[in-house]
Structure formats: C-alpha cells, structure tokens
Symmetry: C2
Subunit: 338 residues, 2 copies
Amino acid sequence: MTIADVARRASVSRQTVSNVLNSPGLVREETRERVRQAVEELGYRVNQAARRMRTGRSRLLAVRIEQTQDGMNVFDRFLHGLTRSAAKAGYRVILYTADDDRSEIATFDDLLGAYEPDAFVLTSTHYGDVRTSWLAERELAFVTFGRPWGSPEGDAHPWVDVDGAAGTAAATRHLLDAGHRRIGFIGWPEGSGVGDDRRNGWTRALEDAGPTTHPKLEDASLMRRANLQDAGGLERRTDGSAAEGEAAARELIAAGATALVCVSDSVALGALQAGPVPVIGFDDTPVAAAIGLTSLSQPLSDAAARCVRVLTRLLDDDSPDKPDHVLLEPSLVIRRTA
Amino acid sequence: MTIADVARRASVSRQTVSNVLNSPGLVREETRERVRQAVEELGYRVNQAARRMRTGRSRLLAVRIEQTQDGMNVFDRFLHGLTRSAAKAGYRVILYTADDDRSEIATFDDLLGAYEPDAFVLTSTHYGDVRTSWLAERELAFVTFGRPWGSPEGDAHPWVDVDGAAGTAAATRHLLDAGHRRIGFIGWPEGSGVGDDRRNGWTRALEDAGPTTHPKLEDASLMRRANLQDAGGLERRTDGSAAEGEAAARELIAAGATALVCVSDSVALGALQAGPVPVIGFDDTPVAAAIGLTSLSQPLSDAAARCVRVLTRLLDDDSPDKPDHVLLEPSLVIRRTA
C-alpha cells in the first residue's frame, strides 16, 4: 500500500496526497476529504515520516543506556519496563550513550536535529546536573528518573524516584528488631544525592528508635541524640567498590558494629568478606539473589511506567499546573545475610 | 531555523522548499539549485522527517530488549556496545519487547509501519526460528547475533556469533591441564542450538585429549572413544536454573566427576553448592565476578560492532555476493573456582 494507491483511488496526483498529509492547508477542503476517505477505505497506514511532518510528533522517547564498572546495577530492568510501557502508550524508546553531562547535551542536540524525539528520560541525576536546565531552557519535554538534587530549578520539572531513605530506614529497623543496637552504615562519598539520601534513612531510623544503647537515659530527645552520636562513629564512606566495602566493614566491626547497612550491593558484597555480621545491600541485583544477600528492591517496572505516564500527560497537554513528582517505596527482600 | 527561513532566502514558497526536500522531481532544476544553495548558506539542518521522505532512510536499527528470569545475563553489555557502534556509524537503536517469535513478528510489522527501521538486529536465534524467514521474504535488512540453528535457509542471511564450542573446549582443556580426567558437563535440554554447541566443545576436547583414563590403550582412536564413553556418563541436562545445576552436580560428583564445565553461570552457581570440585561457568556475568567463578567471557562489544558493520555494508549496497558470517572466540576468565 503506497501513496500511489491512495492517489489512484481518490483520482488525484501523488503530490496532492502528499500535500494532504504534510500541508493540508494547501489543499481544497473537497479534495482533502476525498483523499482522507481513500486513506480510510484502503486502510493505508500513513508512514511515520508523513505523520511526523503533519503532527510534529516522532513518537520517540530518548534515554541513555548506562554501563557501570562491575555490572552490578539494575538499569536493564528499568529500560525493559520503559520499553514495554512506552509501547503500550504508542511510543518507542531510542537509545544513546554518553560519558558525561556535556557529551550528553551534545547528543541531545544531535538527536533533536536528526530524530526529533518527543521527550527525554534522564537517569542518574546528581548535584550540578546541567542537563535539566539545558532541556528546560529549550522548553523540551522530559522527566528525570531521580530527584533534582540541589538543582537551582528545584522542583520545577517532573520527576519519578524511589525513596532511598525509606529503604535504608526499613533495613535499619529490621536490624533493630533483630536486637542489634550498634548498626553501622557504609556509604558513598558525601555529595552524592542518592548516597546521602540512603544515609539519611539510616540516621532517621536510629533517631526514631526507642531505648537502645542508653537505656538509663529517660529523656527521649537525649536518647535520640545519644543513639545518633553512637552511630556517628559507625559510618564509613567508600568509592562504592567491594574492596573498599570490605575494608570499611572491618573498621566498623572493630569499632563495635554488630550489623551493617550498605549503600549498594557492591559495597555489601565486600562487607560480607569482613566477618560474620548481618549485612543488608541496596538494589537487589542478580548478585544479591545469587549469594543470598538481603537487599532493598526498587520497583523499577512501576517507576518506568510512571515516567511514561508523566511524559504522555505532558505531551498531551493534559498536565496539571504543577509538574508531576512521584516518589515510590522500595521493599526489603530478606535473604540469608540479615 | 525553519523551512520558512529557507523559503525567504531562496525567494520561493514554503511548499516549494518542502517539494525540493520531499519530491525534488516536481521542481525545476533552477529553483531546486536556488533552494539547495539557501539550505547550505543558512546551515539549515534538514529534519529527519524530511530527510527520510527524500532518502527512504530512517537511520534506525531495531532490536529487542530481553529480560531473563534470574537476571544473570550479559545482554545489557551487547546493547550498550550496539548503541555505541551504531551512533558512530550514524544510526540509533530503537527498542521493542516481545514474548515470543509470533509477537516479535507482529512488532516488526508495527515498527515498519510506524518507524521504518532500516534494519533489524535479532538475538536469541533458535531451532524453528520463524523470524528470519519473515524478514527475508520481505527483503528487509537484518543480521542475527547468533547462528541460524537448523534454519532451512541455512547460511543465507548474515550473522555474527560467538563460538561456544571453542569456549567449552578451552574450559575442558584447562581442567585436563590441571590433571582432571573425569570432567562432567551440565547443560541445557537437547535441541537448544547454543546449548548443544557449548556441549560439543566439551566432547571435542575430551576426544582430542591425549592419554587420559585409559593409559594402557595405545591406539589413539580407541583411546579417544574410551574417553568419550567415560564422559557419556558424566553429562546432565537441566532447565538452566541454579537449583537443577546443584542437583546435577551432586549426581555427577557421585558418579565420579572431579571437575565440572557448565553451560551457564546460573547452572555453575548451583553446581558450586554441591561440593568442593572445580567449576567453570559461561558468560562471565557480574555474578561470576562477584563470587570468583571461573567463566567464559563473550566479546560482546566486538560482536555488537561487527553486527553494525555487517548492516552498514548491507545498507550501503557494498555487500559481497555472500552474506557476512562472523564467528568470534570467547576467552576464559580464570578466577577462584577452577
């Protein structure tokens, strides 16, 4: 089925059919109607190029494909969910790679020139992220999977994220419930939005805990402060590798920690080598399942579906006055290690 | 920069500019030249929709994103490599999901109608694969990452693959070199192209081995047959899960196996639970690195780059008389378990 078939059926030239598809304003109403009827009768599937020129829509969502050093990440689950949810909404996912923000912005420019994606899905948001303001200045549709950590625009753009603090708080409570009172935390360097958020859940759960290391202190606020002070000595920052995770765990165990909450499964994998104390990771990677590591699982299919929903609302101009912000809860998957 | 700017500069109507881009045959040579000059002077970047209507090229390669049960796969590495190599060649990757061959073919149809990808990259080829003949009948460009196992078209289409048999042969030789003479194999059900290929490397290495379990047999062919007969009792098929891998390993160890070659890291993960015998996996997943599993690593970035090169040759009509067939070698990554 081609434009020529439609032209024959409508008794017009191919150029007229093309005009109806691309510049309908140039064609008389009566002719336009005849062509549209022929299109319908023949079940002609307007091709994407013609449709795009008419509607200005590419039906493409662009997303970066990430790769981490040790492969212990769950980005592929998010990407699978995004592809599936996008297809249900009539969109396809187009991929790109980028090594840093600057090269990613150059790629935005290139994609916009060549493929005109309707929207972008940004991942790995971080302090000093220059990608969002670049897109916002150009009034391009996008959603971030990740909150706008310290961004000057604040909450001006739509985002979907998983509540890391709620996750580590649940992990810490799980260890408190098991009777642990000196619970350490192994994190990433300060200044990582995601890392600091996960750390905050640990401190929050310790502050909120009932009588712990100081049963004689009756004043609740004193008790909370004492809990936290104790905890302060039980924290280590790492580069995120298993090797540094193991070293940090040795120090914390020597300092009296009887259980460890970790910022990632990679760090937790290392911590497990340090000694027989309970360890909880974060991200529920295939490695966690393989070695029986208790870990926090992000609802990635749901997060991906919410990203698509946020974007389709934006693109269909059905968006509310305020941008959508969606914060989802992770769940603790309890296995052998805690 | 819009078509209107070009039209102004060339002193023609917008429709004429559109005609030059989409149907240059309709426009007089002199006018066409004037528009082209304006496009060049203004640095107007012809948008993709217009370019596609002119060239019939979408600059999109379509690939399915896969998801496995336990997440122990390395497809994300292939996809990352494909995205990077495609971008270097001026193409982008567009994703889709599909649950089986039939739904994948329905998706081909949908993609062709709506996005017109220039080519497809098919993964997970298997016996009775109906996808390749569907594409071949329509003369659509594609490459498979995986050989056309038992396909009636045989080697009629281009493919890139990794030599699984060479991998398991190397693993088996590694164990023979370490002094093992009763080496078991844990595989997938018969009829899996990939699984049977990996199995064949194990039998080949045993056949090719020098004096092994029957040092008194001096005739080399008798010796080879004896080796193989011994090996016959040391083989188990599984569904690919760690649980069945463990059960199979227990049986093989009871039958006298002193070392195990496994069809996948998942199966090897289970086999490690069965007892302290050397185990070698396949695919070098993040789990293998995490637990110190010796495993076979596929050159996935290279395989992805070769897929892109095969397709660009096809699309640029620079292809040889015979379709490209590329078979790459995996490499043995030696860790703690063997």
